[in-house]
Assembly symmetry: C2
Homo-oligomer: 368 residues x 2
Amino acid sequence: MNFTIIKEDGAARAGLLETANGTIRTPAFMPVGTNATVKALCPGELKGIGAEVILSNTYHLYLRPGHTTIRSLGGLHRFMGWQGPILTDSGGFQVYSLSPLRRVSDEGVEFQSHIDGSMHFMTPETAIEIQIALGSDIFMAFDECPPWPATREEVQRAVKRTADWAVRCKIKKDGEASGGKNALFGIVQGGAFEDLRRESLEGLLETGFDGYAVGGVSVGEPKEQMHETINLMGPILPAGRPRYLMGIGDLKDCLEAVRAGFDMFDCVMPTRNARNGTLFTSAGRVSIKKTGYKEDQNPLDPDCSCYTCRNFSRGYLRHLFLSREILSMRLNTIHNVHFYLEFFRMMRESIMEGRFPEFKRRWDAVQW
Amino acid sequence: MNFTIIKEDGAARAGLLETANGTIRTPAFMPVGTNATVKALCPGELKGIGAEVILSNTYHLYLRPGHTTIRSLGGLHRFMGWQGPILTDSGGFQVYSLSPLRRVSDEGVEFQSHIDGSMHFMTPETAIEIQIALGSDIFMAFDECPPWPATREEVQRAVKRTADWAVRCKIKKDGEASGGKNALFGIVQGGAFEDLRRESLEGLLETGFDGYAVGGVSVGEPKEQMHETINLMGPILPAGRPRYLMGIGDLKDCLEAVRAGFDMFDCVMPTRNARNGTLFTSAGRVSIKKTGYKEDQNPLDPDCSCYTCRNFSRGYLRHLFLSREILSMRLNTIHNVHFYLEFFRMMRESIMEGRFPEFKRRWDAVQW
């Protein structure tokens, strides 16, 4: 993996992240493909919309269909027919947020499947093994993400564990020949405690990673807290490595984070909202079910060039949504993901042209 | 509308049905787009798969979003982005099969919406008005379809009413300037009673229609009864007009009907089965959830050239189905509809080349 910053505008950066399966222009938004599919989209559509990288979930794929099944079917890229870069999370966050039962020890996490109730044990080593079997381009280290709110002691213990586990992930990955072409990112924890955030980063820096992620954000804390963390971490994460703010997808938060120097983002917001009939446009949020759209001949967003906006009226989109048609979820998802990727493309262009502050001001004024 | 038979092989016919929005090669299978969308597919996919005509449901579109809404959004073609021919049924069958409450009189049918419980009154005249508002290429006359089983008296009354209503449909359509470019098909009822079927057809012939459909089949009667009706009606329906067997989609039944001289078919079988994980292949039916497909790298049907079979493994299709992913319904629907349309294309070719009996023998041997 190779990361080059080609332009800076304040702390905001435009970069190129080269992986074995293609180059990602940063700042980059990664659509989420939890079960080896970005919900409602096929790989050709994703590519056509402009996706350069997707995220897939280790926890889900480990449980179903199983990483060994995906390996025997040629790895995740071939399995799902997506030829571009894939980042896999470590499963850590899902173990804490989805599993109905879990027991954490220094060794790893015993947890119960949210699908069939079966018990499993995941360690830093198995998290890497699974990601090697999946064959993703960027692995994430296995971390402990404390809930919100958490006491200082809880967060401190999580920071310590996350550091130890990060070392074990690195050792495991370096020891596997088949892990050689893949990048490994470390994850900074520390919650709302500035000193613990710094401590967490220092631990990771000692080990050394290909990129650095900030986890434990958007876990229920107030926006101001999240922005404090963003503005604390941006300046101190190593400049020459990609900086990834995990799970963030509110576009105003993304603007704030890019201004602070972050490069990578992922979130289910565009896809999940699409399925619920909430659409992002250049004029703000649209709830497509509104009665006012019943006989509206206009495209959802007249400024948008996506397949949905080029071919269908708001009236048709409303009808499909009220009829709970699959095509509703498809057309809405195409639009929202296209909107997000286009937003990021324009944001990058503004950095390249030295007008990111203007770009940010313009979009901060939109009501989302 | 213009219908030309270009080749016959026994009673089987290959024809061309020209409509204002394109030419349909017959025998033709019409995918069903109930709510102004063939479930899970977009118009471009439908065209790519080879669909030359689709069917849409008057009853559903009348209730939601309403035919006046579709008219104000430019008609059904523009509304749903499908440029090819559309046949709309009359709503008759759905009033009987879906409405929780209905009262039939010679004037029309009072019925309750299955969506919101509201009461409505549909007459032959309103059925035509709705179809004019939708702007479909082929209208169906409003008929009364008795349940199975029904007494001779019930069927006789339905035949009489269907004949009277057909006359009223014709008068209504001929009286509307905007109905001029659209074709109108009459529907033969008569259940399992040969003399009533003949009587029903005679009534329609007196009025004169652009095409003739056989209704009241596949309503619960035994297969033998259905085949008797097919083989009774095929030879006596007028030779120079398209012959449409309504709601039939079992491929062996289609073979039987084409042999008897039928030209048009519609059925939810390929689309509904796709969503339930049942797929049609050259080797027969496949239930994609079977454990044996877990690590199966092969395409669903090695003989198939559809997007699904060219790009994905049985193992991936199984995973998507078990994960209840939207992409499962999409990929399965693409395959099944492609399979049906390809089957009809090959069937037509066999008629063109005078080897339909061989084609029928070959496919009758497959286990569906």
